[in-house]
Symmetry: C3
Subunit: 205 residues, 3 copies
């Protein structure tokens, strides 16, 4: 359990960096405040929406200061290494994918613990992983990545569903955790590599 | 009461379809995921914002799986009939208006039951009806309909106020429910037919 | 304490007016509904996000009708004086700055009372002051002011941090309140007058 906590905090650190960097791609002006704010929203947005929807108080970053310390560490890291960090973007994107996979599985796990119905748990798992980025993009007046990038949210939704199915099959919790994270990670990696996409829908006759 | 529950679930089904279709109008690319996500947000957004603002836990779709089953049914309906559904758009828009009217009145009723002040109840009723669509439009980077379409939110606000007034006059609850829903439905229909609009405001001398 | 309450209600009145006016700048069409809705969101958005994140139920405007009465008074004031109010915009902007400073300090104070970690309190203080405007701008499909206007959110963040620091130093609460409000007010005034800005960041080598 304390390994999962460590991973959660590390995920917050990495999410902050990738969130702040995603904002820096855009034509917006960037100062310390906007790096902080976009990193913060990306890192804590999804979990906050999940906890508020569940009524799971206190929200994680409100009660445990380590989440915000990880955010501040991520902001400083971004500021200090900003000229070199883009070169590292492939590495970062890998970490980001791992971080998102972990957020999803932690989210579905917490939702199940709150005894929500299992379809809701699947959706709340996905929301935990993607909604921070959705809020960031929306505030920056961009169409969220989930509507633009092929196979961004779908692996999260499927991985969240996988965790629920394995949970129903009484697969041991830690094993389930690892399998579901690996599934999301591998799915996104393969989807990117082989340009998988969902079929576009035609609404005309 | 179980009739109202049935209507609520049916409203969720119709709202999901009209939400997904509203998204399909736009120039965005559409796959199964975006149909699901825009339908889901439209159908459950307003009630979720209301419940979270009230602290009315558990939120309806979290505890009762029927809401999400209605969403999934709406998504499948949209996918299967997508080539013919636009022909049905007048019928759907009628259902959508009924659904919205019911959401508003269910929302104000629930808010009164939570003993909020009555102005807050009026506003939370309106929010229940319109905010799902507002969130969807905002995520899709569009100006929400409530700021573009004449007489979209106003009938909801007035109908919500009517319910509170009749409640204060001790009108029997079920009668009040029916009268307020009919008021919103008729107002929106007439407003569309006769192009009613609020006066535009001039902020210059 | 009742002075602070009076200031809080007065702040809601002024925030509603400045919120509705900020919307009227834009090229959007304006009717009574949009003046009401943008004013309402600006005035109550930040505090609502704070309370919902804290789980501080009931949310202020839900239990105490005076907040909504102040919003309605602000809306009527805007409607009646709309042709002259732009001439008063410098005076209003002064009141707006005071209102925002008070919202921030009330927000950090309430968060501390909920025994959150102190970094979270600083951030929730800032959110109380700026998030109503952020939501309004986002709904209107504009980049929020906090990303466009130099030194808009930063004084709020610093003033919120100042309150926490003085609180840790056991400075008497009312004195701390006044000092922190004055700090934010003076900082924003000076920043505007002397065009202070944070350094822009370069993410290229």
């Amino acid at each position: 359990m304390s390994l999962i906590y460590a991973i959660d905090i590390a995920g917050t650190f990495v999410f902050t960096i990738s969130g702040a960097l995603a904002a820096s791609d855009k034509k917006h002006h960037h100062d310390i405040f906007s790096v902080f704010f976009t990193g913060f929203i990306t890192a804590i947005g999804g979990g906050t929406i999940r906890d508020v929807t569940l009524g799971a108080y206190p929200v994680a970053w409100i009660s445990d200061i380590n989440y915000l310390l990880a955010v501040f560490a991520g902001v400083f890291f971004t500021l200090i290494f900003r000229r070199y960090i883009i070169r590292l973007s492939r590495t970062l994107s890998l970490f980001d994918t791992i971080g998102m996979a972990i957020y999803v599985v932690l989210g579905v796990q917490k939702s199940i613990a709150f005894e929500v119905n299992l379809l809701a748990a699947v959706i709340l798992g996905m929301i935990s992983g993607i909604f921070g980025g959705v809020i960031r993009d929306t505030l920056l007046n961009e169409i969220p990545l989930i509507f633009r990038k092929e196979m961004y949210a779908t692996p999260c939704l499927l991985g969240s569903a996988l965790f629920v199915v394995l949970h129903l099959l009484h697969v041991e919790e830690q094993l389930n955790f690892i399998l579901s994270v690996l599934f999301i990670f591998a799915f996104r990696l393969l989807a990117t590599k082989y340009s998988w996409s969902l079929p576009r829908l035609n609404f005309r006759e």
